[in-house]
């Protein structure tokens, strides 16, 4: 079973994502801010991370930078899922090494497709 980590501080968004990916037969991990995400990743390496950007304490950019510093962790696929959708934000996200940048509000079907696409590469 593939492992997915959902990182977002909005409980309702987390709830919807959790439901969707459980249905797609993922083992789902949840972190409600960047610091929690880093804790989880350090213990159990997921295959893919859905990562919000604007979060308290440690934000999504910082989480990604943390991942890219480690050889093992940098191989995890990362999808940014954020309401920030200025071109400059998207460019920064991809420059930092995210595999995909999806703007909020998002289509659930498209998001699922992107996840499968990335994992089957």
């Amino acid at each position: 079973m593939k492992k997915i980590l959902i990182v977002d501080d909005e409980p309702n968004i987390v709830m919807s994502l959790e439901y969707i990916f459980k249905k797609e037969n993922f083992e789902v991990f949840i972190a409600r801010d960047g610091a929690e995400a880093i804790d989880i990743v350090d213990n159990d390496i997921p295959d893919i991370i859905i990562l919000d950007i604007m979060m308290p304490n440690v934000d999504g950019f910082q989480v990604l930078k943390y991942l890219k510093r480690s050889e093992v962790l940098s191989k995890i696929k990362v999808i940014f899922l954020s309401a920030k959708n200025k071109t400059s934000d998207i460019e920064l996200g991809l420059k930092l090494g995210a595999d995909k940048y999806v703007s909020k509000p998002f289509s659930t079907k498209k998001l699922v497709k992107e996840v499968h696409l990335l994992l089957n590469k």
């Binding site: 501080d9 909005e10 409980p11 309702n12 968004i13 709830m15 919807s16 994502l17 439901y19 969707i20 249905k23 409600r32 801010d33 929690e36 604007m54 308290p56 304490n57 309401a83 920030k84 200025k86 909020k104 509000p105 998002f106 289509s107 659930t108 079907k109």
Partner: protein, 876 residues
């Protein structure tokens, strides 16, 4: 010591200097090249061979007077920093490359004035360069043969050193055509030499003081029994005091106006903030340099008592007389460093002046206005290279053909006096709007002529041992015109005397002429910019007033002749973008004309660039009144423009945040609805949970929208308050009723015992909104079960104070000031976001402020937070 060895050491040393310059030029971005230390050390080019040998000479013969030359700069440094800020700002904005350019620009790009300043500088500095060469040559001879008799030119090592220095200055000084660009190679090398000369001088100082003698007190004791000692070490009453005063004044002027100082301090300045370091580091440098001077001098006087040893050479002769040749070599190298850095920077500065303010504006403009860009830039560089070689060679032959048997110091001081003639025009131009070019020109001319009469002619007569009665009896035997005692003034020594009279007439003529004849509008325009640089400094192109007709095409053609097609295109593009001008506009405006003049200024000087640009544009006269009006308007427009931009930025940020805040609930709504729509097998419980979430997120959206509308309405300041007389206790009770249920649910007690009543005028709904908001926050952050939220009022004659206290964990220090900002939600909230838009406190603040009240938050001891607001009884 064999001269081969000395030459070998010199070559090694020069190779190191060349390499450092080369390395710095190649690594011009390195932090070894760009830092305030290099900048400050390069200012120490002030200390020349004159300092190295001459100070000691002066100290040995005249006691402490040598200090004046260093006290001046130290005293003036704080004012110098302020002045430099202004000068650097103006120079950078106008691409000024030399002192002559600066003065010429201030007086309306005056070509003649620029040339005059150049000539004055060359006349002042060439003998000074000669002096440095003399120092090199004499010390070389002393160290190799123990005497100072010079060889023929062909056999004179100094001649070849001079040529090498010219090569160095020409190679590293003309890397760019634009002379206002920095010469990082040369400056880094000079900074290094400043270290070398200081360290080596300290070495010899310590050697004399502690090795040859037993410390300062030992030297003092031995020196104090020498004849003349006491007379040397005093200021000499009132007369001496005046001499000191004027010598200090003279050196204050010199630290700003010597061409080499202007070069290193202004033209080579990379960042204004470097000036800060100068404040303490430069005085410290000068202090260290002077600490041992008097001891070396006394030591020399003691050891060489009754021997014929030139006091200027004490520094070198002391170790030699003791047989310490290596140490003497070190002294020689230190003095050599001091001399060559002065020679290089001075010739660089003078060659720029010569090319940009004399040769090009008077001889090459017609040629350049027709030539190709590559030919023109090559020709400009060649002019400068030839100028550098000529200056050094002329200086060399000056030293060869005049028996410069007077001390190093006197020639240096004559240079200072000549340079000081530029002071009224320079400083006056920075503080006095009315100062005109005619005044400046006449002032400099008169001052210079008086210096020639009172100092240069008699000095030449003395030093060349010519026999004439001129000095003792005055011209045509008129007592009144004796050069050293002009108009019967007998108070001063020759140098302060010449300084006094020349500046007296210089300033007098300058002021009278400026007051009597008004300068043209152009002068006035620059006068405004120079005098009030803080006001107009940022305006750049816009501060420039110009009226007339010009085609972009013509101006572009002129620019291309110097910058080439690519650079012209690039510069113009940047200019268009910066000013928001359409590229297709065929007509040039004042801004473009001014911008183009500046572009050329660095390469050919301000007067020439003005003439060249003027040749392709048709300019109209503008009255002075118009100049001032336009300047004033641009100033105002600029200010309001800045304000608008600031407000725009804030609005953008607000909209960004609003969009983000709205998207978040909508994202949940969309995702959850899509699941509900697509998934038919969804469990009934889950379905319910999803629908509840959708509902609450929808409410969140509408709450947000209402809040945003509220905040906008309050911010626009329209008559939104419904002001009536109300009872504060009543309002508090109503608000408590609204939140009571939430409090009960959480087991929190609402305490209103400390509430008293008063009737005042306010908008009840709005104040209730504030109270509800504060109460909900207090409940939200209180501990469940044990919490209490207390409401208190405090009433006096003119205001009511209401506070809401909770017993929660309090507010983080970081948050105390920001919690009233829009959308500010503390980073330290629980991970589950509390219900809230992040706008509640911002709205509360606006409501209270529109009642002319105040609201603030603080922490309670031992724990809990307290938010208080004040409502004044009188609204106005």
């Amino acid at each position: 010591m064999s001269s081969f060895l000395v030459i070998f050491v010199i070559i090694i040393y020069l190779a190191v200097i060349f390499y450092v310059a080369f390395w710095a030029e190649k690594n011009s971005k390195s932090k070894w090249v760009n830092n305030p230390y290099v900048y400050t050390l390069s200012l120490a080019v002030y200390c020349t061979a004159w300092t190295y040998y001459g100070s000691v000479g002066l100290a040995a013969t005249s006691g402490l007077k040598f200090l004046t030359i260093y006290l001046g700069p130290v005293i003036i440094i704080p004012a110098w920093i302020i002045l430099m800020r202004k000068i650097i700002k103006i120079s950078k904005a106008n691409k000024i490359s030399s002192l002559a350019d600066f003065i010429s620009l201030r007086y309306g790009n005056n070509r003649f004035l620029g040339a005059l300043v150049t000539i004055v500088c060359v006349l002042a500095i060439v003998p000074y360069i000669a002096l440095q060469l003399k120092a090199i040559s004499e010390t070389f001879n002393v160290i190799t043969k123990h005497n100072i008799i010079a060889n023929t030119v062909i056999n004179d090592t100094t001649f070849y050193i001079a040529i090498l220095l010219a090569v160095f200055a020409a190679f590293f000084g003309t890397q760019h055509t634009d002379a206002s660009e920095r010469h990082k190679g040369i400056i880094t090398a000079v900074a290094l030499e400043s270290v070398v000369k200081l360290v080596f001088f300290l070495v010899i100082g310590v050697y004399v003081t502690f090795y040859l003698f037993n410390g300062p007190s030992d030297i003092f004791e031995q020196a104090s029994i020498l004849p003349n000692f006491n007379k040397q070490q005093t200021i000499n009453g009132l007369e001496g005091g005046f001499n000191w005063f004027f010598l200090i004044m003279l050196s204050m002027i010199a630290i700003v106006l010597l061409p080499r100082q202007f070069q290193v301090a202004v033209v080579e300045n990379d960042r204004e903030k470097y000036l800060k370091k100068v404040t303490w580091l430069f005085p410290l440098y000068l202090l260290l340099f002077n600490v041992f001077v008097i001891f070396i001098a006394w030591g020399g006087n003691i050891i060489f008592e009754n021997q014929q040893v030139d006091a200027d050479l004490f520094t070198l002769m002391l170790p030699l007389s003791q047989g310490h040749e290596i140490l003497a070599l070190i002294v020689f190298l230190g003095g050599f460093s001091a001399a060559i850095s002065m020679v290089v920077i001075s010739t660089l500065a003078l060659s720029t002046m010569l090319s940009n303010n004399l040769i090009i504006p008077y001889g090459f403009l017609t040629k350049y206005s027709k030539g190709e860009s590559s030919e023109n830039t090559e020709s400009i560089k060649n002019i400068r290279r030839i100028a550098i070689f000529s200056l050094i060679i002329v200086a060399y032959f000056f030293y060869r053909s005049f028996t410069l048997n007077r001390s190093l110091v006197s020639i240096g001081l004559i240079s200072f006096v000549i340079i000081a003639q530029l002071a009224p025009a320079f400083f006056g131009g920075l503080i006095w709007r009315r100062a005109s070019s005619r005044g400046a020109i006449l002032g400099v001319l008169i001052g210079f002529l008086i210096t020639v009469y009172t100092l240069i002619i008699p000095f030449t007569i003395d030093s060349q041992l010519l026999s004439t009665s001129f000095v003792n009896e005055g011209i045509f035997g008129i007592e009144f015109l004796k050069p050293y005692e002009l108009f019967g003034l007998q108070l001063f020594e020759p140098v302060p005397h010449a300084f006094f009279w020349s500046l007296f007439f210089n300033i007098f003529v300058y002021v009278i002429t400026s007051v009597s004849f008004v300068g043209n509008y152009r002068e006035r325009n620059f006068a405004e910019m120079f005098v009030d640089s803080t006001k107009y400094g940022e305006l750049n192109e816009e501060a420039y007033v110009w009226k007339g007709e010009a085609y972009v095409r013509d101006i572009k053609e002129v620019l291309t002749r110097f910058l080439g097609e690519k650079r012209t295109e690039r510069a113009l593009n940047l200019f268009y973008i910066k000013n928001g001008i359409n590229k297709q506009t065929p007509y040039a405006d004042a801004r473009l004309v001014s911008f183009s003049e500046k572009l050329l200024t660095g390469s050919i000087g301000s007067a020439s660039s003005r003439i060249l640009i003027a040749s392709v544009v048709k300019e109209e006269e503008i009255s002075l009144r118009e100049v001032l009006n336009i300047l004033d308007e641009t100033q105002k427009a600029k200010a309001s423009n800045k304000e608008l931009k600031e407000r725009d930025k804030q609005k953008d940020e607000f909209l960004d945040t609003v969009a983000h805040e709205l998207k978040t609930p909508i994202t949940s709504i969309r995702a959850l609805s899509e699941i509900l729509l697509d998934d038919d097998e969804i469990a009934i419980d889950t379905k319910k949970q999803f629908l509840t979430s959708i509902l609450s997120e929808s409410q969140r959206v509408s709450r947000l929208i209402n809040n945003i509308l509220d905040i906008e309405k309050l911010a626009s300041g329209k008559n939104v308050l419904d002001l009536k007389k109300n009872s504060i206790k009543n309002t508090i009770n109503k608000s408590v009723a609204v939140v009571k249920q939430i409090a009960i649910n959480k087991g929190i007690h609402l305490n209103t015992q400390a509430v008293s009543d008063v009737e005042i005028i306010y908008d009840e709904d709005r104040i209730q909104q504030v109270l509800i908001n504060l109460l909900s926050n207090a409940i939200k952050f209180s501990n469940e079960e044990i919490g209490e939220v207390a409401l208190k009022t405090y009433i006096n004659n003119h205001k009511v104070e209401v506070s809401v206290e909770d017993s929660g964990k309090g507010i983080e220090l970081n948050d105390l000031l920001s919690i009233f900002d829009k959308f500010y939600q503390s980073k330290n909230q629980t991970i589950l976001k509390p219900v809230g838009s992040g706008l509640g406190l911002a709205i509360s603040k606006q409501i209270i402020e529109s009642h002319n009240g105040k609201i603030w938050a603080e922490n309670r001891k031992p724990h809990g937070a307290k938010v208080t607001f004040i409502l004044p009884f009188k609204l106005q």
